[in-house]
Amino acid sequence: MSNTSTTNDTLITGDQTYHSVTEAISKVTERDTPKLWYLIFSLTFFLALMFAGSIGYLFFEGTGIWGLQIPVGWGWAITNFVFWVGIGHAGTLISAILLLFRQRRRTSINRFAEAMTIFAVICALIFPGIHVGRPWVIYWVFPYPNQMGVWPNFRSPLLWDFFAVGTYFTVSLLFWYVGMVPDLAMLRDRAKRRLRKLVYGIFSLGWRNSHKNWKHYELSVLILAGLATPLVLSVHSVVSFDFAVGIIPGWHSTIFPPYFVAGAIFSGFAMVMTLAVIARKVYGMEDFITINHLEKMNIIILVTGSMVAYSYVMELFVAWYSGNQYEQFIAMARMTGPYAWAYWTMIICNVLVPQIFWVKKLRRSIPVMFVASILINVGMWFERFVIVVSSLAQDYLPSSWDYFAPTFWDVIMLIGSFGLFLSLFVLFLRWLPMIAAFEVKGILPQSESH
């Protein structure tokens, strides 16, 4: 965990020179599109189109096409929203918090993880947007002077959420883009064809690696990291307020903000892991995203997974200790009631699975971490499902209880959102520098200027 120059050689393997780094990262975007890419993209794009089509049908028919029914007015759409926002958190954590801690090994994975953040937050923003019932007046959440003479209710957590996730998306996008400008300039300088030179030229803003520019640039990135760190902690806290400020049993709890943030980082790292394991193999980036990087990520998964496990225990303890019979009931109902299958799926995936990473050998085994990362994301989806649905289904009045069952459209939209996410990600891998080349060059042993 040291950041001295002596650890440099372990960060990037394979005797890299500046030029070999440029080549390895640029050539992915420069060679002819591989057949495999077309195959994967057409599949994911098909799913994304399915998503778009089902949203069209939703607008036409209304939210009744989902399994929503009073008392469960928030079903899979809100589950998916919380799930996708959570996925995004790892990207910001890697790019911002590890930058502030001067963890220089982050340079290999930050670009990648930030891209994942952007695409996950796009998926996340869609769900509450289409869930509002009348999406064509979604602009009412903006505080703009209008002929009705009213303003949005600033005391509502749902409005806080709009501001939090909107800010999160904007800041993440800016952070990602600013970080990419020097690498876009690299692609511009290597471009042979006119169109390519023009497009990368426009997006690289005329960047020329000048030290008068680097001075402001480095401070800008540092400040953005400093802003993104409290922001990322606030975003999932605010998302948790959607629940915690409500008085539904099982929601109304002060543990929610830290519990949600830990879960978000946990699931986000699992998603980075899934994508990184595939991408480094397919694109031959093993020298940049080394087994050491993956091991460090597994340690973070273990730590945050244990924090999530602690939260589960604490939730039960608080329910019991509150002396409130509704809280006690819902805690028992989650474990033994109609949604017990979801609860125990969550426990197995989120509490038991990450514990395998205590063993160094498993922590460094690619197949093990790949399977574990997928299981963790299944578990984290179920965590949100348990929170959203089980509390609503069995609140104070037994006469209004109901069992939520998803419809065909619920399933299609969840799968479709993965299609959108993966389509964007595959496009990113094809056209943009997936690893921060200039940052990697800065940690090569020969870059030391003393």
């Binding site: 501001f163 300088d189 030290h211 800008s220 200039f438």
Partner: protein, 195 residues
């Protein structure tokens, strides 16, 4: 055909250490309008160039305060003045409930300051720059280390400055010209001197 204006000289160096050393010598020789270009920010370059700390923090701080104050003002005025409405029995100006949005807008505006302030200070986007016409300058995003001295510097003299740069250890240098629309027909300046 119009006369070409000289922009300055660019010189290439072997690696970050020699560039850093050359920058120190150029500064000690009294040059002011010079710049270093490298594939990644070099640690210690600001001190070597005698650059002052970036004022970006002031822009960010100012906009952050504006975001914070603006958000509070917005929520106070809409909820307590323009259309007072009792929600959940809370006071019209219910500060705790207004904190999340105040926080988010502070961050949002501060981040705008960090990004657009940086672009403003760097005078970007700037799609034309004489340096882009230097023969080897596209190496700078790959693995090249360059030092440029502008002709507007008082101490600049094409011949002497070039000789001076060679002495500091540059492996290649070239005189750069401004490219006006009239001179655009020619791709390269004909007297691009090689050392």
């Amino acid at each position: 055909m119009t006369e070409k204006r000289t922009y300055g000289i660019i010189a290439e160096f072997e690696d970050s250490q020699t560039l850093l050393q050359a920058v120190r010598e150029v500064r000690d020789a009294g040059y002011i309008h010079f710049d270093a270009h490298s594939p990644f920010p070099i640690h210690g370059m600001d001190e070597a160039m005698g650059e002052r700390r970036s004022p970006l923090g002031w822009i960010v701080g100012g906009l952050g305060l504006l975001g914070c104050g603006g958000a509070l003002l917005l929520q106070w005025w809409t909820s307590a003045v323009d259309y007072p409405l009792v929600v959940g029995g809370k006071p019209f100006f219910s500060l705790p409930a207004f904190i999340p949005i105040t926080f988010e807008l502070t961050i949002l505006l501060a981040a705008f300051g960090a990004v657009f302030g940086m672009l403003f200070l760097n005078q970007l986007p700037k799609f034309y720059h004489p340096l882009f016409y230097a023969d080897r300058f596209e190496q700078v995003t790959d693995g090249g280390f360059f030092l440029s001295i502008e002709a507007r510097d008082d101490r600049f003299d094409a011949g002497q400055t070039q000789a001076f740069l060679e002495k500091t250890g540059s492996s290649y240098s070239e005189i750069i010209y401004e490219h006006t629309s009239e001179s655009e027909e020619e791709e390269k300046p004909e007297e691009g001197d090689r050392a």
